[in-house]
Symmetry: C2
Subunit: 419 residues, 2 copies
């Protein structure tokens, strides 16, 4: 290990929710610094601050230009970071805060969900060289038009990983309110285990399948720049889950986890004329309205018509409903049906690439539990099915058991801890 | 009047304290805009926001570096300005918000009480030219080292007047929770009248004498750049008080108002050796600690020693006490006494320049009320006395009556209203 390592630490909203928690975080930063590491900290807004700001905006106005919303909600992280610097000063640690603009986090101009184009980080490097802890506002950047932008939900994870990549940090620690990445959501599958390690591809599929532990974009960034990420708890400080590029060894299990997601709705367009360009017309309209379509299934054509089903966030239904209705009429479909009472259940595991029969075993397990499958979608290391919401717990627990996730330390020993 | 006038409007914290008030302010901005004016708005932080942020900092840390405090407390105005833009959008008014940095409000580096060095305002001018209402964060700027700075209490008034000066605005409206500048504080002198007009010099003396209606620095700015200021209420919207460079006419009364102030303490250094450099040693130390010394009185020397008394803000007593004690010991004074139970009462009026006997009449009036005078200080258009706090109401009311302020419209008609 390097004599001086550079660690980027990100703290979630619950980790800095009140003055006591803020001081506890400062203690951990000070501990890391005093052990000879250079430290860059990315705090989220305190507790419910961002939600409260959005509520305030709703109370003031029905019209909420994206630029002004970003001006508003990016204040939450500024409050956190300045308070954290003060708490660090109390502990005798010299710290300096930087807004997204001051840290040179350059984004595109998509207010509310801006993408990071570049991290300049000049002032951060200078401050680190001067021996200071740097505290950088998460969730925000500045566009090339010099407007303040926000990165959307999970944006602070992305800020932290992007900074770690740009500064060539040795690792990026994501402190949150869970102790790591689990083999299933413990609220749904009580026998779920914490994973000591997953690789980037698995984590990507888990995030895509609905795991909320790490934001999808931050995992993409970590994979693309090979930033080792350590997901851990700011409440227990115990070792969490390492997310790295390490390939799994032969002895490790095929499946890393069962991921469940109840935030989506299913939309079916019934009896669509089966001719070229129909799907394009539909999904272009939704994309233009920034609706994030997830699974798409088109059934085999029957008598010249076909059914198209897709899933999308329940939160976007209001926006999508009118678009889908309009397009369905335009293309001469018979009708549109919605079902928000669904669950998506996914098996994720890099081992399934070389293991045939995983899908068959999954479908058999679900059949044995009398859980009906409504949609199926697969990737090389993931299989997802949509079922009725009522079958979620039964299905998730049965799959967890069937794929040997319930017991035993299936992974090799955790990576050496930095502390 | 110009076909297109440029109006700068500043709204105080109580004027934008909640969503309803924020919308009422937006209505007034929209009204001003729809009457053909270009409008720049400077909102303060909502209600107690700044105080709450300071309390949060106190809860987190005893160590509060000025840079981080400024990073923290400047968020309040950002919240206000983005919300105001949204409320304006709801009314169909295109508005755009600018931070101090984006508006090009360049300050020195004195965190917590920075001074404006320059207002660039390029983005504000461009947005005005594009037909937009500009909403600029009050109370903040950016230093030449690109650090975020705050201007101290009353800073939003200064932002508004500085912007008005830089943009050559036709007037600067200061909306607050009182209806204008009064001949005395109506809570102390019930018969106080609203003044239709005062000139810059009088307003400067009133602010210096303790009137809280306008921040002293903003009046200096207005006078130096000849910006007509209209102080008025955001609750009644009635015409308030114009502060301009207009000289008073012969018929107007000698005295404009009685200003009272109970925020200061008196410090007396007893039996100081009477030799050169003593006062310098004392006040240099206080200046270095940023203690704002107000009145200074040195009594006639007796047997080689002298007493030095001065007044200063009660809020700075903790800081000042140790400095004064140390200096007093160094210079061989016999002791130091403090009195925080005092009041300062001032008569202000441009007319007194050419009217002899004002001071004598003031002292006689106080004597008739058995109010003892402890200190006296004068300028060409102001006389201030320090008395025991218990005599404040009696003294202020008697002076108000004695100088003919109780009744009658003593000023000429108000300037034409812009609306």
């Amino acid at each position: 290990m390097d004599p001086v390592a550079l660690i980027v630490q990100k703290y979630g909203g619950t980790s800095v929710a009140d003055p006591d928690r803020m001081r506890a975080v400062a203690e951990n930063v000070a501990f890391t610094r005093r052990h000879g590491n250079d430290v860059v900290v990315v705090p989220s807004a305190m507790g419910k601050t961002t939600d409260n700001l959005i509520k305030l905006a709703n109370d003031v106005s029905k019209t909420q230009p994206g630029r002004e919303m970003d001006m508003l909600i990016t204040t939450g992280e500024r409050i956190s970071m300045s308070l954290l610097c003060m708490a660090l000063a109390d502990l005798g640690i010299e710290a300096v805060s930087f807004t997204g603009s001051q840290a040179g986090i350059i984004t595109d101009s998509m207010h509310g969900k801006a993408k990071i184009l570049e991290v300049k980080g000049d002032r951060v490097r200078e401050a680190l060289a001067a021996g200071k802890v740097c505290v950088v506002a998460g969730f925000q950047g500045i566009s090339i038009e010099k407007e303040i932008t926000s990165l959307g939900r999970g944006g602070s994870d992305t800020t932290a990983v992007a900074l770690a990549a740009s500064l060539a940090a040795d690792s990026c620690e994501i402190y949150t309110d869970v102790t790591g990445v689990f083999s299933a959501d413990p609220r749904i599958v009580p026998q779920a285990r914490k994973l000591a390690r997953v690789n980037f591809d698995e984590m990507l599929e888990m995030a895509g399948a609905g795991s909320r532990v790490l934001a999808l974009r931050s995992v993409e960034f970590a994979r693309n720049h090979n930033v080792p990420v350590h997901v851990r708890s700011a409440f227990t400080w115990e070792p969490g889950t390492w997310v790295t590029d390490q390939e799994r060894s032969m002895e490790e299990p095929i499946i890393s986890g069962v991921v469940t997601d109840t935030t989506e709705s299913k939309v079916t367009i019934v009896a669509v004329p089966d001719r070229p360009g129909i799907a394009a017309a539909l999904f272009e309209g939704l994309a233009a309205a920034n609706v994030n379509v997830d699974m798409i299934v088109q059934n085999t054509s029957q008598d010249g018509t076909t059914d198209i089903s897709f899933t999308m966030p329940k939160a976007d239904m209001a926006t999508a409903e009118s678009i889908v209705g309009r397009v369905a009429a335009e293309i001469g479909a018979r009708g549109v049906s919605h079902d928000s009472d669904i669950a998506k259940i996914s098996l994720v595991g890099a081992g399934m690439k070389t293991s045939p029969g995983i899908a068959a075993k999954m479908f058999r397990t679900l059949a044995d539990e009398s859980v009906n499958i409504e949609m199926i979608s697969t990737s090389t290391i993931r299989i997802s099915v949509v079922t009725a919401a009522s079958g979620l717990e039964r299905a998730a627990r049965a799959l967890h058991t069937a794929f040997g996730l319930d017991s035993g330390q299936a992974y090799s020993a955790p990576l050496p801890e930095r502390k």
